[in-house]
Symmetry: none
Subunit: 191 residues, 4 copies
């Protein structure tokens, strides 16, 4: 097994265990076992459990962005872009429930809060696609004149809850439901 493969294996196994059992339910020894490596080996790839988790998060971002942005056309109208991003994200979560569960664990933890705070303060200058979209929407008066962060919460809060319920098996999201749900989100934020 190559160095890259082993790193990948550890990442993937950690993802699975943490997604299923949470951070405390994922001892390094268990991750090692299920990864088929010795405990010490993990520490060759990740300085500490904290670092492993943080890297796992970065990995996650690296996986999601390309998928969600595939076919994204920044020149299209705000509404179309919103639909593209939201349905893509929703589909990603549906297709990758482990990623979703991990992200939930992550965001609800010291790491996540720190990360959120970081983003909040650092994004002032640069911008991610979502932020950009919301700012466009507001300035073009297509979206409500509310703080970006609230627009963001309205949209993400909703679809994350919905994704969660789908993954827990409380609803089954098919294409029409995804469409109509996104529509509802749009209704919430559009002017």
């Amino acid at each position: 097994m190559s160095k890259q493969d082993k790193r990948e294996e550890i990442i993937q196994t950690s993802l699975e265990i943490i997604a299923e059992h949470g951070f405390h339910g994922a001892p390094m020894a268990m991750i090692a076992d299920l990864s088929g490596v010795a405990v010490g080996t993990i520490y060759r790839y990740f300085e500490s459990k904290d670092v492993l988790i943080t890297e796992l998060y970065k990995e996650m971002e690296g996986r999601i962005y390309p998928v969600v942005l595939k076919g994204y056309a920044p020149e299209k109208p705000v509404r179309a872009r919103f639909f593209h991003l939201i349905t893509s994200l929703l589909r990603y979560f549906i297709n990758n429930p482990l990623d979703f569960r991990f992200l939930e664990q992550f965001h609800n933890s010291p790491y996540g809060v720190a990360c959120r705070r970081d983003k909040f303060f650092k994004t002032k200058g640069r911008s991610d696609v979502f932020h950009e979209l919301f700012e466009d929407g507001i300035s073009q008066q297509v979206m409500k004149d509310l703080p970006v962060i609230i627009i963001s919460d309205l949209a993400f809060g909703s679809i994350i809850s919905i994704a969660r319920d789908h993954i827990l098996g409380f609803i089954v999201l098919d294409d029409t439901l995804i469409e109509r749900t996104t529509e509802a989100c749009w209704d919430g934020i559009k002017r």
Copy 2:
């Protein structure tokens, strides 16, 4: 100190510590210390830490419901009732950030998932105010014709995210902002 008082004290202290430091950051010894009782005593009132946490959650519900339902008039139109419930809940979270932090910890944990699952299957028969409201809204064709659970996610997902950002200090919700935010939520689910 009476039996009830002692129980209350333990519940309250647990709430504070868990809200601030999370489940792992709240050892029984610390809870005991700050509650002014012995560790063993906690086990007279709660079979285990798990039970304590679950009870804490029930306690929480018992506190929130009365506050949120205060002045609630089931005979009023769906829209008015929605506004009442959502703004009340939002205000409750704003005024009781510890409760909010605890609930977030709780929902994002094995307990929370189990609890959600329980509720989902048991609520089939009986009904809570929110459920009832959403069902009314849908059947009266005031709300979108989507599964109740999705309507619910649209509304709650949003306002929970917003409450979180307020508590983390990323936004400051004043009365107008609460009003306009609720309005946006309504836009999302109204037909």
Copy 3:
């Protein structure tokens, strides 16, 4: 077993293991085992291994001082006082080889160096018996006009080496040998 007894037991066991195997050769688990308590129990009495070791050192000082000072008469001439202290100390080490071995381990370790440094800087004002004796000796022109610390090294360095060799079994110190050795030490520092 009383609380005091248990603390005493842990102290004594630690002393024995550390004296024989050094700090690294004395894992908490081994100390616990031989003390007849669980690992966790040690942590009720000592915050950490570092603290345990530091306390052990204080304990040691508390044991040695009274023994060495027994019958010490500050009004006697310098030479007599020197003989009293040095032979007492030598005898103490001979009778308590574990204490001696521990002290050697301690002094040769981060703890010990820090402790030495502390003493060096703090003793400027107050004074221990030995310091006082050496200062008296120098000012009365009975001892050589060298820095106190050098006088101290001349005396202690010698008798510690001698005690070590006795404990290792390379020599057998009897009363006459102790007497003559002390005499030699005295010759080294007397004017």
Copy 4:
């Protein structure tokens, strides 16, 4: 880099790290890193860490002896020889504090005790310069009629303590102080 060079490099690096951080503070990986070789390579030159340390000690002796013996004239009187050896040794320690620190670590450890014991039993037959000097001194009735080992402790114990305090910065030994200190040592052992 030649085989000899590599060995030398490992020895020197180990010395520095161990002198500064002690045995536990000197992991093989760190030694390898700073030596510019791979961990595995060290094991080609030294069977184990224990062996490395023991060899390091031998190396040390090999370095000190020539320096201390430089200009040593066995035909000179005992006193002159004593002065030569003791001041040379003291100067060596002052000029090579790393060597001194290492030797202290070494002597205060299982290795050191074993080594001392070895020497004690093996030196019975053959003899080192110091031993020889002390035996000469005693038989010529220039030194006190005490066991050689005690004479040795009187001298070495003192100057090692003094060297330590100089290296720790508690005193500053200049030429006169070295002279007077050696004189004091001599007073201790001379008849």
